[in-house]
Symmetry: D2
Subunit: 112 residues, 4 copies
């Protein structure tokens, strides 16, 4: 399945429930924010080591995948409503980042 | 370009800068949060009508695409680090949502 | 009760549970983010009019106060851990904003 | 200065600029989210040790205080618009937390 097919399925899901009027850009940004908040909650009290090992635990992995799916689905839905091609936008952003952060700058770039 | 190819390019970009040690799950969740915050800032003072019309303005569209790209890139990078298949996770979540929110429930489902 | 007294009570609460090691700056920023995400979830599907009327509904008001309390408590806890005087910082920020946004600039300031 | 006085000053600041129409609950929640995003950006690439030491660096401290001030000011403004007594809400929440998380439960409570 491609990202575009996932977006089409998500659109059909929303249409079948007549959720279009609720899926305004501002509402979807807030919904995306809510899901990112839930993703934070999964990791907030873990040490860096515990966080890195979380995917090895089936229950933790299921929760992480569930929240990341929610983030992706609202992002994809927002892109659909706004007419944004997510993959093209992401690829164009890496192009710009190649210029902004030349490979040899290393850590310094992170420190801005 | 597929989401998987975008993820590979993003990984190569990080590897070329030796950013791996910074790309821990917690750090990436925080970076994702920062970008979602910037996306909120683009829409926060707009009326619902202004928000819906924003993509028609080339400057506003460029800013929106830039922030959505950042959100996607950190989400894709987090998935890569955690070994999560984003598309499969998103598709499985729609499967579950089909059960949770039968089509005829409509608005009520949104109100929980 | 003052904000400082609330902070002291929150600190005593954490100390009594030996939560100090979990209350690192990064963890608290993530926990604050999680609560802001929950606050978004309360408002995300409401129209502007429904959102303005929400405090008139006792159940909705209780949920809003609960989430705003959580946001405040993690913010206060983070300030305590970092040694930040929140009220002084907020007051100093209004001082700077008085200069950045002269009163007659009006809406323009919001549009940046 | 008390939190209530800070709220009054913030309200006068908004009134002098006729920002009332922009300060709807949803808009303020989004603005709060944007500032929490900026706070995340300050800490996202730091190790836990670097984050704990950040307040010792005058520049880093100034940036942290600035972002925490923004978070507080939007939270205080949202509370004013919604008619919420933040300190009372926070205090009532600690009351409930005393019951939810008895002192001897310790870490377990964090793990839910």
């Amino acid at each position: 399945m491609t990202l575009e097919e996932l977006s089409s399925r998500q659109r059909a899901f929303a249409d079948a429930r007549a959720w279009g009027p609720f899926h305004t850009p501002k509402n979807l940004v807030m919904a995306l924010t809510g899901e990112v908040g839930e993703l934070n909650e999964l990791f907030q009290w873990l040490t860096p080591e515990e966080a890195a090992a979380a995917p090895d635990d089936p229950d933790a992995r299921a929760r992480i995948e569930d929240e990341m799916a929610d983030v992706l689905l609202y992002l994809v839905r927002l892109a659909d409503v706004l007419g944004v091609d997510l993959i093209a936008a992401g690829n164009a952003k890496i192009d710009r980042n190649e210029t902004r952060f030349p490979p040899d700058v290393g850590r310094t770039a992170l420190e801005r």
